[in-house]
Symmetry: D2
Subunit: 414 residues, 4 copies
């Protein structure tokens, strides 16, 4: 439904042409400094009209905080917020309304609810993500202040134009004899994950932080635009500084929650964490992440094919994952299809639409990542605090118990 | 945590060496014929020791139904069930216990809980999936009887050995100019999805329903086994006969729930539905699934790149998705790694372990798929029944309302 | 937290002096005719300033529907709504701020969150209930249209002034020998439950539908007001027309959900259903509700000490319960108490406050009742629809199966 | 449904005549010493056959722990447990099966599910509470070890025989002029709440810790037994040592959760906390609990009419509440009633049944109380730990912020 999270929860409302879209964020830790600008920054990264690659409709998307904050500090009570829709008219009737848009939500919404918004998918509109981005910005601010966690997403491919570091495809010919051809990730990509920032991402209109690739992506997007067509792509996200121990076995493993979150974003069809699909081709002896002692004395891993998650639980290494966005369904090319009643015909949608959504999807991916991590932090804190009030365990073999010294230190640093 | 689902819920318990593993299934519709064999069949497909490709430990995994059923009929009350662990001894201490197994859950469990099972990951053991498979078998029986829904999973790749129909990789050279090279799915693969059965799947020890590919997979697995190594793979699952309208916008879209479910299975790292990652490279004009009038008068789609889900809601076409399983972490090759306390050393695990888990993962994938669909069926039924008790809508433009005729018919057939 | 319900969910936000208070209602059946006035009516019954018995602050409490509705029909998507706070200034500092108000939420909020709203309890303000009342009005409209369900609450006592029909106390002297002195409910009270309407309730400023008692209640309230004191009371609620079968064993029995809902209303301290505490004194032989054949052929009960719920499940009889509201904590009499730092002193609160909240609590009780019933209706519908798709049961003894004829009929009428 | 709790969750299964009844307890803090006897003690207090006041069926109710524990220490993973039913035969058919037992769950279960257990209410059997008691015993052990929390319930009335300390009824004649007649609680009762122990409770077969009253209760119960009748009563519970800050505004106020928990116990019809219904008659000026500085420097209250909860949040004082249990529905007196098909007749139930359930309800009330407190402790810990990682608040007026000193101290002692 429209609520996400257990202890840190966001509930959203709003269609594309109703009075406003908004959200209630429940469970925000009290005492967090928070002003509208903290939220506005990410909302502005999400809104359309930021470059000639996106739809020209320039909505201001100003957030109005309603509750849960006084004098710039959160009270621990729910934060209500909303963004007004500038275009609130229910859509005029047109001949195109006789056609459910192919691969869009028009028809399935009608099947599901028996009624649908005049604007078509309505709730499936990208405007619904405003509430997510706002909530994510709040979660992110907390995670940054309390743990130094950094979340950065970027465009890793548009169509077949891909960051060089991940472009190396799996060896082309299915090879039964030899799988030792390449690693899942190039060293350049690993370095990128460690160093990429939002500033570097936003320096390119595509939000691909590699200038040359970005140029080629721009061409690819403009080619789609000129053809009244659309093109998909992928967004990669890295979360740095996450403490070990997040993720709830067995059904709420960290990758399960991240996958759920990402696949709830409109137009997503694929998710992989760490080495992902490519990793399935690498033998265990090469895929396993060996342990090493870190500089701070704790354990780390030499490689990070796991993507920072083992057994469904974060291990303190960088978490990274990739999300696949299909090519937008709404295109202005004529399409041979059928009307709601089955009558064959040709649909020619009007208006201007994003030929490629991945640049704008970047802050949405970051927001959903923040929501997942935030919720898991709270849940794990509940457990750790509870355990810390018990007397030390003396009856178990030492290999079954975490040494008490390690418990106290580095709570924030892992 | 250990509960999955909203109206149809499974809660599981059990580690690898405790007294038993089991589950409570809550929300099963009353009046369903159910005997132990319904559950046992899938449990037996899951258990080890079925061929020389899997671990030789042959556990019987006999299910004991405890409640919720009388005279072979479900009462609507919770169904308790359990499978005894034959090997219930807490593990003996050994030098290997000083080492967290690389890419396994040993270390993260200890970080998370502060204590861990003597057997290592404990709850991360594959035995935990017994409860899921049992619950899934019950859901599946209902879905079959009430809707004729069929769920079939199969192994689609082992390492780089892939079903030919999906083997065609995306065009090798990233091509900025031309993306009209291949479709995401070959016609053979589409045909396979339509016709594959569990019988065909189980006819091969790999559970890959294509004999020739299966032979090559066997070789690949045996090669890993001989090398004391392991290899990953992918499982593809198709769900046929699902009614349109399942999936709850916005956070519980059908692909989000499926992704969550699949990524909660041990060793999974990737999920894609429909055309998935490959579909991100196909322009909208070719990727969109045009509508056509079906034989029964309703709407269907000409192609099915969407994988049966549009806008997060099932559209009545076959749902299919692919899950990536990493190469098993437990290998008996010596591995250079570190002990819990950071001391470098070499870990040489003992015992026999599955060199490849995907054949045994097949019924687990089916089970999780059944749990998702079952829960969504119940939730959508609640809505449809509620709406059906309201008077017909007369105040909306006709394009906003589903024609009443279509509502009544084909509830089960869509 | 701030979300209530499983399939029909309300999430609220807002403190007393923030920008607005509001709610998101998720899971409303699509196709329900709904306009702002449907919600406004109940909000206006809740707002202050309706008579000289309540606080003179007259806020308009106009509701603004934001989403989920087009052309006066619900779309099935979340309904966002808000009511602006007319007084949005954070409170000025005053000496009274040094004192946590006795029996108010000031101190516990500070203990819980570490910070608190400048206005004191903030979220504990009665303004928070606006979201509940709005959501309840929507639920209620559905229940009325689809099932003919009627929900009417009324004031049954103020201080010791009680409706005569329930005034008869339990026999005064604890009597070990004879408990057959009185029934729990007088015939007049049973008749009142059957016939009371909101019109009759609102005809009295106290919302006690018995004119003479209402007069005495007015005097009692005015006496409290004149003394700068306050007085508590009880609200009784009846729900007529509820179908049999609602309530989810075992933890979500219908009385458990109703109790939860009622005890979440500010200032409530007690809840009883049916004969309640008094019924504990009546032997089973007199307390049991014998079955009788109803006019429509189904089963009913001769008496209704159970309050319409048996085994946690509605039985089709009227559901009635009573809720106890303590005397309001905020009084303007000087009170000897202590400051936050423990310094003893005298608190003399200023301003005008409700000397008695029960008249205004009436629509809040109705709203929470509607939310519970609505959610349970949806959950039970999911089960019934699911069961109805299975073949008839032939293997059970006839006493274990509901006759199929009874299934179809009277879905709405029971 | 059959799951209770958010972070500390119990899920139960089992009917009266199935193979076993059991539970899965999820979210137990790791590192808690736990052996079967910890659970068995409370199970044995719950089981029948403890005195001639209860049903003579003496079941052993031995608990079998299945998982989540090694070497007597919890692992943090789910604890599965079960108790075998000694009488597992589905009931024989008898003429009484034609009759739904008045005020029992037979008919409502059949209405709800369309089928029912051969034994009648099945899941409504008191045996279902075994899982709750087991789970509660685990929660209780944690709360005792970590916080020193004590939970003691006792029988406060049987029929009209009531503890003298609470027997004083409200002034008998509804008095509009004078309500200053008595306090809600006698000093003796307050003292009892402070000092009562399980030992004192169990010293009496009735579990009423006042010997003289207990004698009269015994007579009352035996009188019911001799008459083949039954009698109800009330159980009062006190929870001592609860830290301030528990309970989640707004829908999950602590009294709302406690009320929900208690009203989910079979046969309960009423709940009140603190002064409860009686407190509604006491003016605010007398009902308010003035603050005083405690010996440890923190704030306490002079009186405790609030029952330890203000604004839905615990304030560190003793929490106490009262639960009303109706007279058991199953009696062996002949009852004029109707068969399932409406045919009038006389039902004469056979067998031996508890004439009064309140003595056995004592450990069930304690268990549900422990489950609520445990869950709220975890949730509040999550928040407090999260807030503690933020920098000190400097921008708020001092009256809005809890002094940092108070935060650190007395975490366990409040």
């Amino acid at each position: 439904m429209s609520t996400f999270g257990t202890l840190f929860r966001v509930t959203t409302y709003g269609e594309s042409h109703c009075a406003s879209v908004g959200a209630i964020i429940d469970g925000c830790p009290p005492g967090l400094p928070l002003v509208a600008q903290d939220v506005q920054t990410q909302l502005s990264r999400r809104r359309p009209g930021q470059s000639n690659l996106t739809t020209p409709r320039d909505e201001k998307d100003l957030v109005h905080l309603q509750s849960g904050i006084e004098h710039g500090v959160t009270l621990g009570t729910p934060i209500g917020l909303l963004v007004r829709n500038e275009d609130q008219r229910p859509k005029d009737y047109s001949e195109t309304d006789l056609y459910p848009r192919p691969s869009h939500a028009d028809w399935t919404y009608l099947e599901k609810y028996g009624v649908k918004a005049s604007s078509g998918g309505g709730r499936s509109s990208a405007r619904e993500t405003i509430g997510r981005v706002a909530a994510g910005a709040i979660a992110e601010k907390y995670l940054k202040m309390a743990y130094g966690i950094e979340i950065v997403a970027f465009v890793s491919s548009v169509g077949k134009v891909s960051l060089p570091s991940v472009a190396s495809p799996p060896s082309q010919v299915p090879d039964d004899e030899d799988d030792v051809v390449e690693d899942a990730l190039s060293p350049e990509f690993v370095e990128l994950l460690r160093t990429v920032t939002r500033e570097k991402v936003d320096a390119q209109p595509t939000r691909c932080p590699h200038a040359e690739t970005s140029e080629r992506m721009i061409k690819r997007i403009l080619r789609a635009k000129d053809a009244n067509d659309s093109i998909g792509g992928t967004v990669t996200c890295v979360i740095r500084g996450v403490p070990a121990g997040l993720g709830e076995p067995v059904f709420d493993k960290l990758e399960a929650k991240l996958g759920h979150a990402m696949l709830s974003i409109p137009a997503t069809k694929a998710f992989e964490i760490g080495s992902g699909f490519r990793g399935t081709q690498v033998p265990g002896s090469r895929h396993n992440d060996a342990f090493v002692r870190r500089a701070d004395g704790g354990l780390g891993t030499r490689t990070n094919w796991s993507g920072g998650v083992q057994g469904g639980i974060s291990n303190g290494e960088d978490i990274y994952f990739r999300v696949g966005f299909k090519s937008p369904a709404t295109i202005t090319q004529p399409q041979e299809t059928a009307q709601y009643d089955g009558t064959p015909g040709v649909l020619a949608a009007r208006g201007r639409h994003d030929p490629c959504v991945v640049p704008r999807a970047v802050p949405i991916v970051e927001a959903m990542a923040a929501l997942v991590i935030m919720d898991q932090v709270l849940i794990q804190n509940a457990r750790k605090t509870a355990s810390s009030l018990l007397p030390p365990i003396t009856t178990l073999p030492p290999t079954m118990v975490k040494p008490p010294k390690a418990e106290g230190e580095g709570e924030k640093k892992q």
